[in-house]
């Protein structure tokens, strides 16, 4: 079970949380301007990164807040937690994995 460090409440077990999928997906500003391909990208396409992934969690059986995390999907190790609306923190230092991408190449 993951130990998740809620930015509001501190470290809590995974069963207090709900997973929210890929982070930083903004709803299109001009929905009427989008073609079908762009809608499909927004609705269905996810990066599914093997490596560092920016994702949303909700402390649904705690404070109820959404927040974001960086997790390495090859080890399930969390690298950072940050509040929603904030940019993902830069990961530095020797051996640090590369910064997350919004989309896999």
């Amino acid at each position: 079970m993951l130990l998740i460090d809620c930015p509001y409440c501190g470290k809590r077990p995974e069963i207090e949380f709900n997973y929210g999928g890929q982070a930083h997906l903004a709803r299109p500003q001009q929905p009427s301007q989008l073609d079908d391909q762009a809608w499909a990208e927004f609705l269905y396409m996810r990066a599914n990164t093997k490596g560092v992934y920016a994702e949303r969690w909700r402390h649904s059986r705690g404070c109820g807040q959404f927040f974001n995390a960086l997790r390495d999907t090859t080890t399930d190790q969390f690298l950072a937690f940050y509040k929603r609306g904030e940019a993902p923190p830069a990961l530095s230092g020797e051996g640090a994995p590369p910064a997350p991408r919004e989309r896999s190449p």
Partner: protein
Amino acid sequence: MSRQSFSGLSLIWRSLSKHRGWQTQWRKPEPKARYDAVIVGGGGHGLGAAYYLAKEHGLTNIAVLEKGWIGGGNTGRNTTIIRSNYLFNESAALYDHSVKLWENLSQALNYNVMFSARGVMMLAHTVHDIQVFKRHVHANRCNGVDNEWLDPAQAKEFCPPLNIEDNIRYPVLGAALQRRGGTARHDAVAWGYARAADALGVDIIENCEVTGIRRNAGGAVEALETTRGVIHSPKVGVSAAGHTSVIMALAGVHVPLESYPLQALVSEPVKPIFPCVVMSNTIHAYISQSDKGELVIGAGTDAYTSYTQRGALHVNTHTLDAICELFPNFRRLRMLRNWGGIVDVTPDRSPIIAKTPVPGLYVNCGWGTGGFKATPGSAHVFAWTIARDEPHPINAPFTIERFRDGYLIDEAAAAAVAH
């Protein structure tokens, strides 16, 4: 190429001659520089596609590239449930095509895959379940797929260990039974297809990871870069389960997949006690008994995407809670092993078996938590798609573009859970 044929007689002969002289099941060839077609991923679906390409489409200069070893991926990690009682016409056609191939697979491959049509019973615990399952029964009947409704007493008669008392948290209110459903020996499926494909000249190359996909000036697939050198091929079929996103990204193709850990566990082996397969989507219990005697139990997916091939213990205990309530006499059984695999899940929980925007690149993915049952049917239509560069009528609806065009095959909504 000569190969040993298996039969009861050969087994008796070999046992009388002290089991000397059994041959290896498939060769260990060095990869050639050029093939007519290459399958990426040596699981059941990939090996099966290679077999049908060689058997039915006459392509024999082909290779299957496997990152690990044959039978080490999801083919050897699943709970071996086979059924075809899906709601939508497209799904019923695909999965029933598979069940029909399962029925004669041992004879076709000359390899005992131990397919056992012992019946798959899906339990209903709520009024909603009853309505949904009855709708499935009727829809299946229209599609020629067997599925019948049982009341609790009939369910108990079919599966005597089942607890149908009304004092449990989610009492059994009825069940849908597909008698043609059942189980098969998962390792044997991979080995049987590998052996049969090898005998037709297919090169099965293990420990060979694809690291790049080269495309020519026209954008078509030209060659694969692998850990065992560059392999040229005009046709590449990707059948890489949880790693499909990673492989497809090498060619710049984006597929609507998310990779989740899915766990399973087995109990200590016991004498035959469990005659069928029982599934409960509502309370997440999936159970059968292997011929070795272990109770084979499937858990749900973990909540988050991951490539680790492991998950959290609470997902398993959640399933065991349900198993213990439905089958009280299993409460004192000890669990022997648990493990995880990585499954690729699509938004509508239906697979993708299709051409891609890249000429010469084909993909068979998105089987989520239920790919084993479809192994022969999926492999058969995938081979057709690769050989003819157009989909078989059965897999024609299972495109990537259905997400753009709005033609989802929404088994996720039909079953209300991953399956």
